[in-house]
Amino acid sequence: MKWNVRIAASALAVIAGSSYAQTMDPLQLRSLAASCSNCHGTLGVAEAGNESLAGANKDEMLKKMLDFKTGKKPATIMHQLSKGYTDEQLAALAGYFSSLKK
């Protein structure tokens, strides 16, 4: 169990610290993030009923997305949508939304 947690944590660190996440073109990342805003609001500030992403904790958000993707965390649609994004894209998105104002 502990090992699993450590492995998961180090995997997160690798993804979050990957060159892709750090060097992804900012405008490309802005467009990628805008594909979330239909449901999660322009610049990640949502209307009532859906979760805002702006100002989220980067590591928590990435873990949640990866858990949706693996099926560890149940969802109505996010388990299906998260599978369409690479782990690197999810890490970049977590970084982007965490930097936005709540």
């Binding site: 073109d25 405008l27 490309q28 802005r30 467009s31 990628l32 805008a34 594909s35 805003s37 239909n38 449901c39 999660h40 609001g41 322009t42 500030v45 949502a46 209307e47 009532a48 009923g49 859906n50 109505t76 649609i77 299906q80 949508l81 998260s82 599978k83 369409g84 994004y85 894209q89 709540k102």
Partner: protein, 428 residues
């Protein structure tokens, strides 16, 4: 408490953005960057594009939206107005925020034609709007030629489509209310592709839900030109069997070829004529008139082919087409959610092209579509689409997307949250 806090935050955001838009608005006339974008059509695609061109040009590019309607009326959720659990007010959003917060200039008029050489849009009421780049999001229009009887005087006021939310939604609801108990509502569905693949099947559920409450001896007859239900098939069929047994009947392979409006009779290619109390005919669809008239409908003179990196027409330079008017990529639905995604992808590309930068070489976006099978319970379909540089089109990402396991009330609440959020992303 929660609501109040969000309201206060919302005010703060509105205030600061409003102030920003005001200053840049003052600057934009003489000392903005002088670039002009005209957007034709204020639906999910066009309104989103207008807002995001303003935002992503730091309010430097001048944006004019040409839209004749006095407010935005959502097609998604409009079937609930037919079912009687939502009102037109519930699905209507004003254009005020595009103007006040984002400094979009709204011209309440129709675009009559495009002069691509002069780069102007000619308006119906007179006058021209010059553009550096034009974004057309005119939605769909109907191929009436395939239904000769619909050319009769008054035919289109009697046999309704209700496939552009607005006056026809209200009129169709009135026809349902006026129908005597024991009547038949016949819904004719055209061959795909058409706007909103699951929409007709959701409509059947909503009308049946209304009948089951108010007119229990009445029937809903679905006459589908397609070989089978085109979207969420097993989920809809389960809903019809479990919830509307004896009310909804589904008949595939019924291609409509004419309507006898005087006798309320549908005429099919191969099947017997069918008379019903209320006819709801969805004719075959094509790109909006302005796109077809302007030579943009390069695919069978019906849909507009575009470069999926920019949404620029393959036929006419500096003209971008998006939303339901385009020749879709594989597995890409004609939906409001998708049109909103087109709007943002196109806006980013237009800003890049006008400011000498490369458009995003790798767009990725998604679709989420909720259908109400009752006033509360919902089924969804999702997909993720990614640009394929070799095939030069958007392709669905294998392994992503899917449908609900069963209709459920939780997704009913998410569907309403989806609507609130996409209306805000598009218009606020």
């Amino acid at each position: 408490m929660m609501k109040r806090r969000q309201f206060v935050q919302g005010l703060g955001a509105a205030g600061s953005v409003g102030a920003f838009a005001l200053t840049s608005g003052c600057a934009s006339t003489p000392s903005g960057n002088g670039l002009k974008v005209v957007v034709v059509g204020g639906g999910y695609g066009g309104a989103t594009a207008a807002k995001y061109v303003r935002m992503w040009s730091d309010y430097g590019i001048d944006v004019t939206l040409v839209e004749p309607s006095s407010a935005f009326v959502s097609c998604p959720l409009s079937n609930l107005v037919l079912g009687g659990t939502k009102t037109m007010a519930d699905i209507t959003t004003p254009y005020d925020n595009l103007v006040k917060r984002h400094g979009v200039r709204w011209v309440q008029d129709m675009a009559l034609r495009i002069d691509a050489d002069k780069r102007v849009v000619v308006l119906a009421k007179g006058g021209e709007l010059p553009y550096d780049r034009l974004i057309l999001s005119p939605g769909i229009d109907f191929m009436w030629d395939g239904l000769p009887g619909m050319a009769a005087p008054g035919a289109k006021d009697k046999v309704l489509h209700g496939w552009k939310a607005g006056a026809q939604t209200v009129a169709l609801r009135k026809q349902l209310e006026a129908m005597p108990d024991g009547g038949v509502f016949a819904l004719s569905i055209p061959l795909a592709p058409y706007r909103c693949p699951p929409g007709p099947y959701e409509r059947a559920c909503q009308v049946a839900s209304y009948f089951s409450q108010a007119k229990p001896k009445s029937k809903v007859l679905i006459l589908d030109a397609n070989d089978d239900v085109t979207s969420k098939g097993p989920l809809f069929k389960k809903a019809w069997k479990d919830r509307y047994d004896g009310i909804i009947e589904y008949r595939p392979k019924h291609k409509l070829v004419d309507v006898d409006v005087a006798t309320n009779t549908l005429k099919f290619e191969f099947n017997d004529d069918l008379k019903a109390s209320v006819l709801n005919v969805l004719p075959e669809m094509r790109a909006g008139d302005i796109a077809v008239k302007s030579g943009l409908a390069t695919a069978n003179k019906r849909w507009c082919e575009v470069d999926f990196l920019t949404f620029e027409s393959i036929a006419v330079k500096n003209v971008h087409v998006l939303g339901d008017s385009i020749q879709i990529a594989p597995a890409m639905p004609k939906s409001g959610h998708m049109a909103n995604q087109h709007g943002k992808t196109c806006a980013a590309a237009v800003v890049a092209l006008l400011t000498g930068r490369q458009p995003n070489p790798m767009p990725v976006y998604n679709n989420a579509c909720y259908s109400f099978v009752s006033p509360e319970d919902v089924v969804h379909v999702t997909s993720v689409h990614r640009y394929d540089a070799d095939k030069k089109t958007m392709l669905p990402v294998a392994g992503a997307g899917g449908v609900s396991s069963a209709a459920n009330e939780l997704e009913g609440r998410y569907a309403l949250a989806w609507a609130r959020n996409i209306w805000a992303d598009t218009l606020a």
